[in-house]
Amino acid sequence: MNRLNSAQELEDLRRSIVSRRNPNKPCIAICAGTGCLAYGCLDLVSAFRDELEKRGLQDKVDVRATGCPGFCERGALLTIYPQGIFYQRVRIEDIPEIISETILEGKIIDRLLYVEPNTGERFIKEDDVPFYKKQQRLLLGNNNKIDPTSIDDYLAIGGYAALARTLFHMSPQQIIDEVKRSRLRGRGGGGFPTGAKWESTRKAKGDTKYVICNCDEGDPGAYMDRSLMEGNPHSALEGMIIGAYAIGSNTGYVYVRHEYPMAVENVAIAIKQAEEYGLLGENILGSGFDFKVKVSRGGGAFVCGESTALMASLEGKVGEPRAKYTHTSEKGLYDQPSNLNNVETWANIPLIILKGADWYNKIGTEGSKGTKIFSLVGKVNNTGLVEVPMGMTLREIVYDIGGGIGGGKKFKAVQTGGPSGGVIPESLLNLPVDFDELTRVGSMMGSGGMIVTDENTCMVDLAKYFVRFLQEESCGKCLPCREGLKRMLQILTDITAGRGTEGDIELLERLAATLKDASLCALGGTAANPALTTIRYFRDEYEAHIREQRCPAGVCKELITYYIIDEKCPGCGLCVEPCPTQAITFVAKKKPVILNQDLCIKCGTCYDICNLEAVGVK
């Protein structure tokens, strides 16, 4: 690779990369994100290459392992360019047919198309699939257009043009003003205005200033930063370089958890490639600006996503938060002015620079501009990563994009904002999703987790699940978070076990108030949200557990009984063998089986196995 010494040389290189590429040459883009990796997509990539070689087509068809486009539910995913044909649930056995039919003949293989479960309609192009159609994939959209390990791919789609513009045509203050005008707010959870943060770091006194990319993302079920860092690491990197130039920093860190090996690998490759082209390091593009980025791997503690704990961890200390009465923009890493944003925030920057704050302002709501990536998981038909403009209603996200609730069940609530977010009930499904609206109803944006629950989810049990997670992840430094979560978990455990007493709800509320008011960091401060919101919206469920020893959702083992509905049971005996305690006895064909309550451990196996709904739960 030749080092680029000017903006012109960058443009020349871009033109030469693009001119060498034939836009009409077939390209099979296979998702190699973490979800599809689990489906064996790497085998798929090599099997495609082998098959093409066998047929002597290796020079006529490109195979590209790309980042994650988000529809993880339907992996392994592949898109065939230039037509944009979208195949899902692809297996190795499908390869010869894809090559003979689709690549060579241009025919569509119906079997591999996405079928909308409700209407039976088939979709050929990715953009027409309902899951994608309502999304606005400004950031994620590039994931399956590029190979994340190829800087040339990123350059081919316009990469680093924003950097060149800032270095040669904008002053640091102009960049900050543009980011301020875009009204971008931090995507890591707090929603703090990014431009204002940059400005205060720029203005802070200090010999060395740092910019940091937070790729710690510890929420269970959330993986948007992961997918961006794995699928398009240069976009975050470019944002960081622009930020560093605006802030006046020459050193940056990418803090990424060790459990994200592909993100660690891909960002390291991206840094190396950018350095070789002179887009990182000394005298970037001949501008005189120096900026180096190092990757630091975190141990995977939830609390290390908190900015001060993250910085302590970066320094090699125990990852514990400290009070932020002096902002990290003034005294952060090594007590120097430090600007921390998460991956998604950084990835927005090149877009804002290239397309302008006015364009960005047209997307989203009054208080929250741009798009937001959510990881939509739980009891929806289409789980995956979705990127939507701020202000889209929960209903649109859950039903139009998520395809509604699976198994014909009824929607109950959605937990947004990760474990320390809160549940939002059906009555608020028309809520436009943005920073302020989510906070108003007692939840939060957090980093964008969205866990959908259905009628079979017990809200007390759900709160218990999140409180247990938070209790395990609490660093333990401050008393309210450490001791408070421990006590909260005990109370919730008692309630779900039928040992709740009058006054428990009020005690939970009192305890929650202290967690919120008195905790040292935001993790403790928000940790009571699951309990508070489930009490706020589902108080009757708590009361049923406490007063009637009844779990209305049929979840809490100590409070439920499985029974055979005699009139529905044909005595097929399907449930007899799987019962781990031999509690079910076969009587005779056409006679209902008998369930011995004394032996039943309420594992629910019979309930899950019976196709005829002959096992009841009360």
Partner: protein
């Protein structure tokens, strides 16, 4: 000299040096704010949260840990609002649940109007340690040995010697013992031996060549002598006989 600022604490106008904390300034002016993890000998830490106060700045109020919050011009501080008191009481209830039967905690709770904890009796613990971290900070910041540290996370957090074995860097100075607010670090001097049970360490004590009393661990005296570059016979005589 540092700049002075004027602030209001509990309706009293008070002048104070910049960079000092609300807690320090309040206590200097005879206004009591409870705190368990604070000691003027070490850096403030903000873990026990009992020193919460309400501050109002630019028309907005919030609760902050007064041991960490620096005084500012025009700041309005209230040390005992209803919200502050309610939070302190809940914190004491949490401490009572952790440390049932620990006298220091019970006394402080009673002083704050908390007679008992609302948490179930079957879950009460009899921990003496409140994890304020004072011993660890004294050992690191004042003594400079860092022989002990806080280990593990969350509910498993504890003060411990490295790998829960003998604290090999401990010099037996006893700073951890003196600074502990609940007196949970146990030390005893018997004959020529000092033992600190919590860190599994024992030390030979130095005998004064004049009075014959054992007065300090040899390892501690050696540590001080080396650090301050003192003559070899400096500690042959105890401070009382010098």
């Amino acid at each position: 000299m540092k700049d002075r600022v004027t602030l209001t604490i509990d309706d009293r106008e008070i002048q104070a040096e910049e960079e000092r904390t609300i807690l320090e300034v309040a206590r200097d002016n005879g206004i009591d704010i409870p705190a368990l993890c604070y000691n003027e000998g070490v850096e403030p830490y903000g873990a026990c949260r009992l020193c919460l106060v309400e501050i109002t700045k630019n028309g907005r109020s919030r609760l902050v840990a007064s041991c960490l919050y620096p005084v500012e011009e025009g700041l309005v501080v209230k040390t005992a609002t209803e919200q502050v008191t309610a939070n302190r009481k809940m914190l004491m209830e949490l401490l009572l649940a952790r440390c049932s039967g620990v006298k220091v905690i019970e006394d402080l709770a009673r002083k704050m109007g908390v007679e008992k904890t609302s948490f179930r009796p079957e879950y009460l613990e009899d921990n003496e340690c409140i994890l304020c971290g004072l011993c660890v900070r004294a050992c690191g910041e004042v003594v400079g040995t860092s022989a002990i540290s806080l280990v593990n996370r969350g509910v498993n957090r504890e003060v411990a010697s490295p790998f829960l074995e003998t604290a090999s860097d401990c010099i037996g100075c006893g700073s951890c013992v003196y600074i502990c607010p609940t007196k949970c670090v146990k030390m005893e001097d018997v004959g020529d031996t000092r033992t600190i049970h919590n860190w599994d360490v024992s030390f030979r004590l130095k005998r004064c060549q004049v009075c014959g009393n054992y007065f300090a661990p040899e390892k501690q005296l050696e540590y001080i002598r080396e650090k301050l570059n003192l003559p070899e016979d400096f500690f042959d005589i105890c401070p009382n006989c010098k």
